[in-house]
């Protein structure tokens, strides 16, 4: 196990960032009804839900919400079988001609996002796909860039950004862990 080097974000900072991202998402789409927020299991799913709630508070409109599990689309599948808890995706609306915003907690190599985009195409043809993340920690291995970023944290490869959420871990916090 690694040791905690520092606390990057606390609960209040996380919540402010999600509020800002929610505003940015509204600002960048002319038609709110076309927006669909899709969270990547498991942490992204929780942030996506919060963003959907924020957007409803700000604009009064409830946008589409979905969950994506990318296990079956990962390129490192043959090496580690993906995440131990594979669960079903849940996208109950028609994604055709929607403006999708993918939400994940940490953007790192970009491979999860590549998998998520591939998987989205099996549900239909979205008008556009944008990406929102809470933390961008660098070290991209694919040409992928986030459209909405909570905070950029340059990290080294032996560090790990550990995002805790109240719903799973009992508290909201982002830690930098050294291995």
């Amino acid at each position: 196990m690694g040791k905690i080097k520092s606390i990057l974000l606390n609960e209040l900072e996380m919540s402010k960032m999600l509020t800002r991202i929610s505003h940015e998402i509204i600002e960048s789409h002319s038609e709110i009804s076309s927006i669909a927020i899709i969270g990547i299991r498991t942490r992204g799913e929780i942030f996506a839900k919060k963003i959907v709630d924020n957007i409803e508070k700000i604009s009064g409109d409830r946008v589409h919400y979905g969950i994506l599990d990318v296990t079956f689309y990962r390129d490192d599948f043959s090496q580690n079988l993906g995440s131990p808890k594979v669960g079903p995706s849940d996208i109950s609306f028609d994604i055709n001609s929607k403006n999708i915003v993918l939400i994940d907690d940490v953007l790192y190599t970009g491979r999860t996002i590549r998998a998520a985009m591939d998987e989205l195409f099996s549900f239909g043809r979205a008008s556009s796909i944008k990406l929102g993340v809470l933390i961008d920690r660098g070290h991209r291995e694919l040409p992928i860039k986030a459209d909405f970023v909570g905070k950029n944290f340059p990290t080294s490869n032996n560090e790990h950004v550990h995002v805790l959420v109240n719903e799973v871990d009992g508290k909201d916090e982002v830690r930098l862990v050294q291995y």
């Binding site: 079956f72 599948f77 580690n80 079988l81 131990p84 079903p88 099996s122 549900f123």
Partner: protein
């Protein structure tokens, strides 16, 4: 990291309850994939799976083939009637020839009990038993259990009845092993001569009265009466079997509790089950078929997905 312990799926007798639960749970994930506009995921991209069918099959063969294709595996089909088996080639030679051509998994149906176990001595890739004689048919039992779990939300503590020709049924045997491991109560109902002696040693109970079974059960799995058995004097007549063991709506209506009716197919309408029951609200026969594809995807994914397979 290995998600299930077992290396092959030869039967459920030697698979742990934890593995069985994992296979069923991951099966529900694949059920969701089957609801998508594009029902295909790239997990087994580049893997080659050979389907060896030494015995006729419609449902199982199509189900496995669909499962393999929806996992993006490459599929090679083999059926005994159009192969060198007709020229007298042994199972071992057939397998070894196919094996040197570098496949990643073998799915086999064979009329001889234990043939899949024997096969595992010749090749070092995962083997999935798609039915070996009167021994086991593990994926059928897994899809039955998945359907029970879908319907009731659990398996533990349920009363599951199995009625029909238990003696010749690989479906029954696999179901018995699996259901008992997952904590269900199993009661069998069959004419006495179509039931193994000492079958109770597997933890099941027995009745010869189908009404008693219906009274007791939450769900009843109705097995096909194999017509080929009739010629050899095991069943005097279809009418007699229907009278004493057939699942008819008249019989079901006599009981207060509404039970779930399952059938592994193919159905002999009017023999072991009546049309109005098979097509009625109580039956989940077509759900079973859909779950079959999902659970087979789960089995292949879990057996082939692991890196440390040796």
């Amino acid at each position: 990291m290995k998600r299930i312990e077992t290396k092959h799926l030869l039967g459920l007798e030697n698979v742990s309850s934890k593995d069985i639960e994992t296979i069923i749970d991951v099966g529900f994930t694949f059920r969701e994939v089957l609801e998508r506009p594009i029902k295909k995921v790239p997990v087994l991209n580049g893997k080659n799976i050979v389907n060896l069918f030494f015995e006729n099959s419609t449902r199982t063969k199509i189900s496995f083939e669909l499962a393999e294709k929806r996992l993006s595996a490459d599929v090679t089909n083999f059926s005994a009637s159009s192969s060198s088996v007709e020229k007298g080639e042994s199972l071992r030679d057939t397998i070894q020839n196919i094996h040197v051509m570098k496949m990643d998994c073998v799915v086999m149906r064979h009329p001889i009990p234990g043939s899949c176990l024997q096969l595992s001595n010749y090749v070092d890739v995962p083997i999935v038993n798609a039915g070996d004689g009167t021994h086991e048919h593990p994926t059928q039992a897994l899809l039955d259990m998945m359907s029970i779990k879908e319907k009731f939300g659990k398996i533990k503590g349920l009363n599951i009845g199995i009625v029909g020709d238990i003696l010749h049924s690989r479906v029954a045997l696999s179901n018995i092993f699996g259901l008992i491991k997952l904590g269900a109560n199993v009661k069998l109902c069959a004419p006495p001569h179509l039931l193994q002696r000492n079958i109770e040693q597997h933890g099941v109970s027995v009745t010869y009265d189908v009404d008693e079974l219906i009274d007791w059960a939450d769900a009843v799995n109705v097995l096909r009466i194999q017509r080929e058995r009739m010629g050899v004097g095991l069943i005097p007549s279809i009418r007699e079997y229907r009278k004493f063991f057939g699942i008819t709506s008249e019989r079901l209506n006599r009981h207060k509790k509404e039970i779930v009716i399952m059938h592994p197919g193919p159905i002999n309408r009017g023999v072991e089950i009546d049309s109005d029951v098979a097509d009625g609200d109580q039956a989940i026969i077509l759900d079973q078929v859909l779950n079959g594809v999902a659970v087979r995807m789960s089995v292949l994914y879990l057996l082939l997905g692991s890196k440390d397979f040796e």
